[in-house]
């Protein structure tokens, strides 16, 4: 019963982190960049939203401002990478590091700020999970619709091309530097938006809350792509798959806690899950290559 009762909460948490994972999907899958800024921007989003809500700003405006703050952090990472030639992964780590200080500044030097339904007007809270689920579902639907439309535009297609083949993209006159910056910025904006929702859902913003976020995001992405692999290829469906992946992740998480797994080991558990999912295709390719290469050998030529 306790397990069943915890499931709606797990789904809500899955949706919040699913939004975050969609941000990770944009960089990792579409832009082909491993961006570690997100650990910092999740927290930035939470801090900005919490502080603004506490000072009486409408929570929806606070959420949008949080997303904007994340997008700016993403631009910083993008510029470090593109303008200064720093490898993407290191650019992300540098921004993430700087954001730690920024986040503390936003919280006014405190490491933790509380938000309560009783004292503030917030969009969602774990004290009312059915409404929280409704709010999150709405956010997810709007986000997926907007992303679907955006990546179908000329500029969106240019970003996808940049991730798929930068050499070809430049030969087709695409400004790949600009595409990378916009892509990383968009991703971090979405992650910060998730952070803003998470702060309201859990009732606080904490300077430590983003740690390991990228691993959870990746877990959702890899589980999600496994879930939709056999379905028709469609961008909106892939994004929905990422949401589903995050929900599955948190459902499993609840079960693992329920069976009495030491919660101190959960982060290690997450890392192992991601490593297995990311490593499996490589090993599969390595050990079953004979079969596939024989096939492509025959089918070669025009």
């Amino acid at each position: 019963m306790a397990l069943l009762a915890s499931l709606p909460g797990a789904i809500a948490q899955g949706l919040v982190w699913g939004i975050m994972a969609i941000g990770v999907y944009l960089t990792y899958k579409i832009l082909d960049v491993a961006d570690l800024t997100v650990d910092g921007t999740l927290c930035t989003g939470a801090c900005v939203a919490a502080v603004m809500i506490l000072s009486g700003v409408h929570p929806l405006i606070a959420v949008l401002c949080a997303a904007l703050a994340g997008a700016i952090a993403g631009i910083v990472t993008g510029l470090l990478h593109v303008a200064l030639g720093i490898p993407a992964i290191l650019s992300g780590i540098l921004t993430q590091m700087a954001l730690w200080s920024v986040n503390l500044l936003i919280l006014g030097g405190k490491s933790n700020v509380g938000l309560s339904v009783r004292t503030s007007h917030i969009l969602l809270s774990l004290s009312d999970i059915p409404s929280a689920l409704l709010v999150l579902a709405l956010f997810c639907a709007v986000l997926i619709a907007l992303l679907y439309l955006f990546f179908g535009t000329e500029f969106g297609a240019a970003i996808r091309a940049t991730g798929s083949n930068p050499v070809m993209s430049r030969a087709q006159g695409i400004n790949t530097d600009l595409c990378k910056i916009v892509g990383i910025s968009l991703s971090n904006g979405i992650v910060a938006l998730a952070g803003a929702l998470l702060a309201q859902y859990q009732g606080f913003a904490d300077v430590n809350m983003g740690r390991g976020a990228v691993v959870i995001g990746l877990a959702a992405v890899v589980i999600g792509s496994a879930l939709v692999r056999r379905l028709p290829q469609n961008f909106a469906l892939s994004l929905a798959g990422v949401l589903a992946g995050a929900i599955v992740y948190y459902l499993v998480y609840q079960v693992v806690i329920f069976v009495g797994f030491d919660t101190n080991l959960l982060k290690m558990f997450s890392a192992v899950v991601v490593a297995v999912f990311l490593g499996a295709p490589y090993l599969k390719n390595k050990f079953f290559r004979k079969k596939t290469s024989a096939k492509t050998g025959k089918g070669g030529g025009t």
Binding site: F155, R160, Q172, T302
Partner: protein
């Protein structure tokens, strides 16, 4: 003149033991509508010349003029609107993770601002279907297939179509049939010839295949150590044979022709 290369010099790894003079005061002018084949041994500077035109790097000295405009300092993606490119590796010219029609739509917008308008319109699809049908490779029924599922020859033919969808001022072909089997290579060469003649494209085609270099194009140039050492056109080119070419090379360079692939083919 459509293309003028004026005293281009490029030295890689200058000042180190790996120093390599890739372009050595290279001069070349190509008239509008001219189809030039480019041959030369390994490291003669053929690809370096094309990469300089495309803007992969800045030459150490010299100027590049395209249709009268100095493009020497123009960023790669900005000069792309004037240039069509097909590479040796079939993987390079197309985005594998995107659909055939999406690749074509990207190419159709070369040199135009990328806005928030739809990435592909319905009328375009019909146009692409027609153009793909002309290739004769059965791609016209597979518009929404991922390019990654195509064979090397199909990808090269598609890249050619993409390079010429917006008529380029200059078409650059860098051994674009070298990675294909002979039958496919012949087919892609035939498509190349058709497209170049139809649109009267100014073309630079690098090839390691001497017979192709003689058979196709209006003019043949040979590079050696970053310089043009042979420049043959018109009647003289039509009478040329592979042994002639080898003899001319030895005479002009005082060197044996060093290219394992060229000798074998």
């Amino acid at each position: 003149m459509m293309l003028e290369l004026q005293h281009l010099t490029k030295i890689f790894n200058a000042g180190t033991v790996d120093e390599k003079i890739a372009l050595n005061d290279l001069c070349l002018t190509v008239a509008e509508g001219e189809f030039v084949t480019v041959i030369g041994g390994n490291g003669a500077g053929k690809s370096t010349m094309q990469n300089a035109i495309c803007g992969s790097f800045r030459p150490d000295s010299g100027r590049i003029l395209l249709d009268g405009e100095d493009i020497t300092a123009l960023p790669e993606h900005k000069r792309a609107k004037y240039l069509g490119r097909v590479y040796q590796d079939p993987m390079t010219g197309t985005a594998a993770g995107m659909q055939i029609e999406e690749n074509l739509a990207l190419a159709a917008r070369r040199g135009k601002p990328r806005t928030l308008r739809p990435g592909i319109r319905r009328e375009e699809r019909e146009e692409y279907r027609k153009l793909l049908a002309e290739l004769g490779l059965g791609l016209e029924t597979r518009l929404s297939a991922k390019v990654g599922t195509l064979s090397g020859g199909q990808r090269q033919a598609l890249t050619l179509l993409m390079a010429t969808l917006e008529k380029p001022k200059l078409l650059l072909l860098d051994e674009h049939t070298a990675a294909l089997d002979p039958k496919t290579a012949a087919k892609v060469m035939q498509i190349t010839e058709k497209i170049v003649r139809e649109h009267r494209l100014t073309t630079l085609m690098i090839t390691h295949n001497m017979r192709d270099a003689i058979r196709y194009g209006d003019r043949l140039i040979m590079l050696h150590e970053g310089k043009v050492i042979l420049d043959i056109r018109g009647e003289e080119k039509n009478r040329l044979t592979v042994p002639d070419l080898l003899a001319l090379f030895t005479k002009a360079s005082g060197d044996e022709f060093v290219s394992d692939r060229a000798v074998l083919s």
